[in-house]
């Protein structure tokens, strides 16, 4: 992650997006980009290009476009899973976020999560449901900070998962 970011910062193929401007979205789907190397390698070995399942790849792309997983490098707006996975879009996620960015990202993610998993904690007698979670994160209470940490772990697992799915969809 750090290596990828630093390569971009050294003036690789793209410059970081100037403040106030939105990042240009890549026209090539993430799933295709991730597996470009592997695909061309397979094609050269077998002598013909492999055909990815179009519907499967489409589903993956739809999922990664919906969910936010970081912010654009300049902090101008939240970035989707697709953008974070896209090496062409400069983004930051997880521990590279300030507490304010992290709070904003997690509030948005939980708000838009229709299947939020309620939880119990030793430390409070009540169930932490979606409403309570949003309120605790807004107040950055100890429970809110705890939820932020869980959400960050969740983001990393999601990124890892979508990366694998994108790769597999092309196989």
């Amino acid at each position: 992650m750090a290596a990828r970011r630093s390569a971009k910062m050294r003036g690789g193929r793209r410059k970081p997006t100037p403040v106030g401007k939105t990042a240009r979205r890549s026209k090539v789907p993430v799933s295709s980009k991730i597996t470009q190397g592997a695909q061309s390698q397979r094609a050269s070995i077998s002598g013909k290009a492999s055909k990815p399942s179009a519907s499967r790849a489409k589903r993956v792309r739809a999922a990664v476009k919906r969910v936010f997983a970081g912010v654009l490098h300049d902090g101008s707006r939240l970035a989707t899973v697709q953008e974070v996975l896209d090496p062409q879009v400069p983004t930051r996620t997880s521990k590279d976020l300030s507490i304010g960015e992290s709070q904003k990202l997690c509030l948005r993610r939980i708000k838009e999560n229709e299947s939020f998993v309620s939880m119990r904690m030793l430390g409070t007698s009540e169930v932490i449901d979606k409403k309570r979670a949003l309120s605790e994160i807004k107040n950055l209470s100890p429970i809110g900070l705890h939820l932020l940490e869980i959400e960050h772990r969740y983001i990393l697992l999601q990124l890892q998962h979508h990366h694998r799915r994108a790769f597999n969809a092309e196989r």
């Binding site: 939880m119 904690m121 409070t124 869980i150 772990r153």
Partner: protein
């Protein structure tokens, strides 16, 4: 090595605590007694789990293992009680002799921060080892029960390993290993829910304090043996 007794201090005053207590009572305690290092147990629930009552039970020289469930605080167990806490970082209120040479395991939030260190400090409580969490132990609710059981089962590995005669260091390692195994299985399941539950589980794993990670939590070679 003669087996000793276990004292469980399980507060069950609300639904959250009740869930943890029920799991331990039905899945963990029956497996501990009579199998290796533990010959008998005393389970003190809520009203019986007052400091004076607990202390009375802990004065029994056969007690080797102290475990408990409660909403904790970094410096006391329980953390939100109107009564005197059963254990606190200061010896004000409880006699440190009652935990000297014993192993303590608290399924309780935050106690790993200060209380665990104080209990395992040879100049403080003098417990031979301490297990606890330095943040809020969390588990999912309104999901399939199998997911909930994973969380308590990981913690219970400490009790099971110690009762089987393993060292505190081995018990810690076994618990971490179980957390990792369950985490990997949840990740492999690959649904949004299972990934979120895996994140929760990983957070609990990283909060676990014990003699495997730092000697401020006692001796990794400690076992359940009668003190003295």
């Amino acid at each position: 090595m003669p087996p000793g007794k276990m004292v469980a201090i399980d507060f069950n005053s609300d639904d959250t605590l009740e869930e943890a207590c029920n799991y331990r009572e039905s899945h963990v305690f029956p497996d501990l007694v009579g199998k290796g290092a533990i010959s008998g147990n005393v389970v003190l629930k809520d009203a019986d789990a007052r400091q004076d009552s607990v202390e009375k039970h802990l004065r029994d020289p056969e007690v080797v293992y102290i475990t408990g469930v409660a909403h904790g605080a970094s410096d006391s167990f329980p953390g939100n009680s109107d009564d005197l806490p059963v254990f606190a970082t200061t010896t004000n209120g409880y006699d440190p002799k009652v935990i000297k040479g014993r192993i303590v395991h608290l399924l309780s939030c935050n106690t790993g921060d200060l209380l665990g260190r104080a209990l395992a400090d040879p100049r403080g409580g003098g417990a031979s080892a301490f297990f606890g969490y330095n943040d809020m132990f969390t588990w999912p609710t309104n999901v399939d029960k199998k997911y909930v059981d994973i969380f308590f089962n990981c913690d219970a590995q400490i009790d099971i390993a110690l009762a089987a005669g393993k060292t505190a260091g081995e018990a810690y390692a076994l618990a971490i290993q179980t957390f990792n195994k369950e985490h990997d299985m949840l990740v492999a399941e690959g649904t949004e829910t299972s990934l979120y539950i895996a994140s929760m589980l990983a957070k609990n794993r990283d909060m676990l304090c014990g003699p495997g990670v730092d000697n401020v939590y006692g001796k990794a070679l400690a076992r359940l043996v009668p003190p003295g």
